[in-house]
Amino acid sequence: MSDFRVGGLCRLLFVTLSLALASGRVAADDKENLADLSLEQLMQREVVWASKIAQQISDSPSAVAIVTAADIRAYGYRTLADVINSMRGLYTTYDRRYQYMGGRGFGAPEDYAGRIMLLIDGYATQDNLFTQAYIEDSGLLDLEIIERVEYVPGTGSVTYGNNALLGIINVVTKNGRDFNMAQLSAEFASHGMQKQRVTMGKLFDNGADLLLSASVLNADGQNHYFSAYDSPTTNNGWAENIDDERNKRLFGKFSFEGWTLEAAYVDRKKVVPTNPDYFTLFNTPYAIDDANAFVNLRYERDFGLKLHSASRLYYGYYGYNASREYADYSEDNIRYGERRHEGRWWGLEQKFVGNWFADHAIVFGFEFRNDFTQHMSRSYFSPTYDFLEAREEDYSRTTTSFFLADEYRINDQWSINIGARFDNASDLDGNLSPRVAVIYRPSLMTTLKASYSEAFRMPNANEIASTPVEAVAPEYVAASELVLQHDFSPRMRLTGSIYRYDRSDQLVFDFSQYEYVPTGNSHADGVELEFERSWENGVRTRSSLAFQHSENTEGMDAVNSPNVLGKFNLTFPIVADRVRLGFEAQYIGPRLTLERREISSTTLANLTLSSERKWHGMSASFSIRNLFDKEYEVVSPSGVLSDSLRMDGRTFWLQLNYDL
């Protein structure tokens, strides 16, 4: 899409926002002081009730998108990728290995799900080898234990340091009190998928809260046809019985008097049918195994009346095992390859919030992180599976960070948020990430936020291993955003956003020197609009449109970056409020593959029926994904032989829960 059309959309947004404001309530009384009103007067006052639409809890001057537990149930979301796909301006790309997230010009193929922070109750989950956020079955959480997911677009380095370039996905888990019982769950879905889960939650009389959950998933998968391999020597293009998946998850959370101990573990094995490597043999098992785990201990308390403290001690683990079979072993006798990677890290964070001055909230603190294991190992074996050779790489990094921010409420209308974070990594120069934001509330229902921020991303172990030493340097982004949020009523909200991202120091291949150099620049800009409404009878709707234009480091349209994304969600109770129907439609515009071929646009629809009330402790959900059995393709992240991949047609999913 051209800049001209983005410009036209800006004007449209401008007109819409102006109208929105004009219709908002604006009284013309003289300024009055709340303190001068008597109780009798207050009791007669007209009031603007706070929004009944979910309010953001993340401290951020950007246009936060929220998906709650009620949405997860109503729309039958099974993975974080499903949740992300329903959010304004976001999309995911699946290559039958991982789901990769994209939006606002980010999400180039081969990026993994990087350049975004995925936080679980404040703990950053990305591994320290690929900086990947795991958002499908390799992710840490079952969605049933999630209270809400917030997507905070815009950079987050001022708060979280490394890698918060595109935004932050902030997952808040439920507490034991939200269950206060044991729940058994069984799931069945297309392609031989089965899942069992047991969850137990309890709030004890002394205020202690415990949540425990475990689940197991098994899926047979499908046989896939790839036209690029359609020859008699490669099974006529069919990859047979190599799409199965298994995962195991454990989660526990215990909180008592300001202490919270939380731990999660996931191990996901997936066989990859797409033959994503240039040298491997088609229709042979290519198995990957991703394990992620963390322990996070948090302690929050107030020191006196004006100083709040939050301390965190965390430990994280990532393990990756993969096995593959090479097509041609005539020269080096190497037929099988194995990769065994491991990452381990621990960290300590201390954050204070000082409310010493009436209109200031001053946040300050430090974080120390030690990525003490970054181990990558590749082993090679002969056709008879004799060990031939191995390549081992080991890295480590410590990062010390300090942060300071002040949120200054000048008056009821204006506030300013200024902050910076300094990160000093052992193998890189120190880096300062600043943010300044101005927040203006012309009326109780209208909020306008303008922000400018800078973020950075350190090269990860995988990149360090594959780049010349001189090119190992951070990459940067500067983001400007203007956000408008207007509540027409407590149940109706319009959110609009205009943004621009300028990226710099990206790695590009320099053909004159014939190596990678960190000199690439690129940019993305766009407009997003979202409308949410709910009614007292339980009907909820949310729709959004996002227009984006992003260029790569060569000034050409970026690959796998659609110019238009649309989302529509509607849910309402049916059958005398016993059942809830959830319908969603997602439009993804045309986008380019690695071969710079255009993939056509797609609209996908999903339908979910879920029980609204429990019947003798039983509840159920039933979903149809890709309701109209639409054939569609996504950009292939590896681009090996085929630059696009065909996705699933219509699939079914059933979940049964029983509360003990």
């Binding site: 205020g207 709040h308 009436a358």
Partner: protein, 167 residues
């Protein structure tokens, strides 16, 4: 960039000084007035600590009362997030998020003279409860819980309250 500026200008020009009260301002106003008309046992503390517990919005609404004199003492607004300091409070406004934790909060408070106020619908064991009645905000007084804290709501509070529960 120019468009952003135009947009900003339009909003600035449309802005006006006053507007109706927000829910949180109103709740803050109620809480302040209720505290002003309640009698505490004599004390020699210099500050009057008005605390909110995990109720940031009401806490911010109360900010404009900071530094005023209440019962002859300087009003200090504290937005607390944990129970550590709640015994230092004269008023404790308990937010919806802490409702499930109420038994524990009351145990911590013991017999300290703390005026407990809450707007959480499931909470009853506090001295003053704020509630929505149609489009208006109202309050109920539970004398048993006030007396446990040796607090005496003034006569006009008793008159304006929607419900007064006697012990």
């Amino acid at each position: 960039m120019r468009r952003l500026l135009i947009l900003l200008c339009v909003f600035v020009s449309l802005s006006v000084a006053a507007e109706p009260l927000s829910e949180y301002q109103l709740k803050a106003g109620f809480a302040y007035n209720i505290a002003a008309y309640t009698e505490w046992p004599a004390t020699d503390r210099r500050n009057f600590n008005f605390c909110t517990l995990n109720e940031e919005n009401v806490g911010l609404g109360l900010a404009q009362f900071e530094g005023k004199q209440l019962h002859g003492r300087r009003l200090v607004i504290a937005r607390l997030t944990s129970l550590v300091a709640i015994r230092q409070c004269q008023v404790l406004y308990i937010g919806e998020r802490e409702a499930a934790n109420l038994p524990h909060i009351l145990k911590q408070l013991g017999d300290e003279s703390v005026l407990t106020i809450s707007d959480a619908s499931q909470v009853t064991a506090v001295c003053v409860r704020l509630a929505l009645d149609g489009e208006r905000l109202v309050f109920d007084i539970n004398l048993e819980h006030c007396q446990q804290a040796r607090l005496m709501p003034g006569s006009n509070l008793m008159r304006l309250a929607r419900v007064v529960t006697k012990p």
